[in-house]
């Protein structure tokens, strides 16, 4: 989910890779308060539900799954999985968690290292096999062994069946957000049936879940459209809103828009380039900020680019960025300026930080001079062929040149090449798109010494201790601790965030239930239903 306007071909490879960047964990538990601001939540006038079961819902999605195997797919394609694989815990569109295959869950003890789940009784998978706790354990054994994208989420965790319908997950580190990892957003919360696990080769092209629908292979053309028909064994039939759901992979944003305008498709994941036109066409547009785009100044130690070791230089770069101009020109309605690594209403968000670096060329020059680089310097960055990442890089280059800094952009058409060069590391900085997530999970991926996005393995004791506190905290204290981590990162200018964007959803007036919110920026397909 990048909300990026990438040209068709690149999407199919890039999204897969981009998802590696973005591990969005949408929900926050009821214990994590988070910001109350509803900024960015645009559920403008959702039609009223009709309450009836609809015929066929056609959804357009720009990402094509390379495989339907939950253990091997990417989070970007969770939509395809959610329809057929019922997750242990369901994430609602308001961010709250609801029972799925698990009817209840609780932490045993008070160090957040042991989660006990009670499974629903009498559940049958679509293929007729019954759900037991052992199935869940076997499922996770397979997932952890498959080496897919979700393995790091559960690394070191042990899964045991302590009763016919009781599963216990023991984590090696305290993990306050474990339930959120078991929702449809992270795919592997959706349990594979034992029959599916027996014949793993079929997992790539068929579904073996307990969800409201199942894949109809006869009406499916891989890479083009996936047809899901009702699962006769579903445990909550009244909640199923459609007779059939067809997910069409349409990579061209214009084609998606055209399909919606002509009624071929009722629900689609949109794109920044067609946002204004979608609104004009009278489609319901829902979106909430989800990602930030900017530069990761990875070489804080100054090994490749000496100037970056100096905090004044890094701050100067932040001052030299005219976020407002970029947001308006390149994203219009679809983005807003971002000075922090999170979004309004997101984890660790502090409105005060939005003014941390107002656009000030004089100030930037001053800082540069103070650091001894009045004449400027050259720094390289690598970007992938995503339109917004690409365009932002070019805009930045222009703006930074005004204070004497020459940003040389290395453009990698092949997204995999971009990743490998960014994380090698081959360059001192790299363009970044990152999703907002709890600080607890952000650390290991973004800023801790072992994080992928910290290829120079920069260490900082202060940051580490702030992070540890946030990991242990709960409730309001957790929010404050999160904000402190955020503030540290902003003031130390380890990054130059530029703009925050969201993933727009388009819906025709015939459907409803497509709301999104800061804690649930991904629409829940379960709630999409016919409108009056």
């Amino acid at each position: 989910m990048t909300g990026l306007n990438a040209p068709p071909r690149r999407r199919t490879t890039g999204i897969a890779a981009a998802a590696a960047l973005i591990m969005v964990l949408a929900a926050c538990t009821s214990r994590a308060g988070g910001g109350t601001s509803q900024a960015g939540n645009s559920a403008n006038g959702q039609p009223k539900p009709s309450g009836k079961v609809g015929g066929t819902l056609t959804v357009a999605y720009s990402s094509v799954p390379q495989t339907l195997d939950p253990a091997k797919t990417v989070q970007n394609n969770s939509l395809y999985q959610a329809l057929a694989y019922e997750p242990l815990i369901v994430r609602r569109s308001d961010g709250s968690l609801a029972p799925g295959l698990a009817t209840s869950w609780r932490y045993v003890g008070d160090d957040n290292t042991q989660l006990e789940l009670q499974l629903r009784s009498g559940v049958k998978f679509a293929d007729g096999s019954a759900l037991t706790a052992q199935d869940v354990v076997d499922h996770f054994t397979y997932v952890m062994g498959a080496g897919g994208q979700f393995v790091p989420l559960f690394s070191g965790d042990r899964f045991t069946a302590t009763g016919p319908l009781t599963v216990v997950i023991k984590t090696s580190q305290p993990n306050p957000d474990l339930p959120t990892l078991l929702t449809q957003d992270d795919v592997v919360g959706g349990v594979i049936s034992p029959l599916g696990l027996k014949d793993k080769a079929k997992l790539g092209t068929q579904t073996f879940g307990a969800g409201p629908y199942q894949l109809d292979a006869a009406q499916t053309v891989a890479g083009d459209h996936y047809t899901f028909v009702q699962n006769p064994n579903y445990y909550d039939k009244p909640s199923v809103h459609w007779t059939k759901v067809v997910v069409r992979a349409i990579t061209n944003p214009q084609a998606t828009l055209n399909a919606m305008k002509t009624g071929q498709v009722q629900f689609a994941v949109g794109d920044a380039s067609t946002l204004a036109a979608a609104r004009q066409a009278g489609l319901t547009v829902t979106m909430t900020p989800l990602l930030w785009t900017g530069v990761t100044l990875a070489d804080r130690g100054g090994t490749m680019a000496k100037p970056l070791a100096d905090i004044r230089i890094r701050q100067a770069l932040n001052y030299a960025t005219d976020r407002k101009a970029i947001a308006t020109a390149l994203f219009a309605d679809g983005g807003r300026p971002a000075s922090q690594l999170t979004v309004p209403g997101g984890y660790g968000y502090d409105p005060a930080l939005d003014d941390a670096y107002p656009y000030d060329v004089a100030k930037a020059k001053e800082l540069l001079a103070a650091a001894g680089y009045a004449g400027g310097f050259m720094v390289k960055t690598v970007t992938a062929e995503y339109q917004s990442m690409n365009l932002v890089a070019q805009a930045l280059a222009q703006q930074w040149s005004k204070v004497g800094i020459s940003l040389q952009i290395v453009d990698r058409a092949n997204a995999n090449q971009y990743f490998s060069e960014a994380f090698a590391p081959k360059y001192p900085t790299f363009m970044t798109i990152f999703g907002q997530q709890p600080i607890w999970t952000e650390g290991p991926s973004l800023f801790l010494p072992t994080a992928l996005f910290n290829p120079f393995h920069t260490k900082n004791a202060e940051l580490q201790s702030l992070y540890d506190q946030a990991a242990k905290a709960a409730g309001a204290a957790k929010d404050r601790a999160d904000q402190q981590v955020e503030a540290w990162l902003v003031h130390q200018a380890w990054f130059v965030p530029v703009v925050s964007t969201g993933l727009p959803y388009y819906a025709t007036k015939k459907i409803t239930g497509t709301t999104v919110s800061p804690k649930a920026p991904l629409a829940s397909i379960y709630e999409v239903q016919p409108a009056e």
């Binding site: 490879t13 994208q149 092949n414």
Partner: protein
Amino acid sequence: MIRATARWLASSLVLLFAVTVLTFLLSALAPGDAAKTMLSGQTTSYTPEQYQQLRHELGIDEPLPVQYWHWLYRLLHGSLGTDLFSGQPITQALGGRLAASLSIIVGTVLVSAVVGLAIGVVSAVRGGLAGRLVNGLTLLGLAAPNFWLALVLVEWLAVRHPVFPATGYVPVREDPAQWLRSIALPVITLSVGGSAFIARQTRDAMADVLSRDFVVMLRAHGLPLRSVVLKHALRNAAIPVVTLLGLMFVSLLGGTVLIEGIFAIPGLGQQAVTASSTHNLPMIEGVAFYFTIIVIAVNLLVDLSYRWLNPTVRAQ
């Protein structure tokens, strides 16, 4: 007859071999491979051991000639292998796509042939201002980028005035009427350029034929103009045009890539692009193989048409 067939078979096999080997080679030269694609897309970091392990599982760690031999072996047993990512048999994955691409290509060739021949004949017979007008218009038709045309046509004939569907493909088995509607816009888009091309070639060929003695002589015998032009001249002029239709068919194989994206049609072109960028080797080979089979079939058709049009002409 036997000898001709044997020769045709031999050259077809050589072509198949050449294309598939070339594809293998280029694939090998390209940086990265399927294992890397898979791993980069899934895990945040992976060890060299994991990488080698995956390469071994996928069977891409073997030397190229060995890989090719395996592929060939499977081919001779009727299988094109399986998709490295999803495990789906390639024949299954490509079957439906072949139908979609062929529908558009065959439709385009037919429409271009009919429209192009008509315009070309009229322009050759009338000459003068009409001829020059046709020349200019056809140049315009050839020059307009087809993806631009597609975008314009979709806007006017699908979105603003829902004459045709904006996206998607309906297989003919499912609903013949809807099938026609779903390929109409792509065919129209590609036929603009195609007709222009055929019209110009027809005009040239016709002008050539019309200056030949037998045209004058047949008229001298009192045969009506319509018959001389449409029955005799056109048949002679059609010979070079048929070759061009064959070439057009082959070039459309690539030309549909853009169109398929804009109209969200699940064709071979799109698959070719995806497969090559993800290093999905069996899929790439499968697409190359199908494309080449199509080329061979088209060439055969062209040859047969040649012989039907003029049995005394032996293709050079």
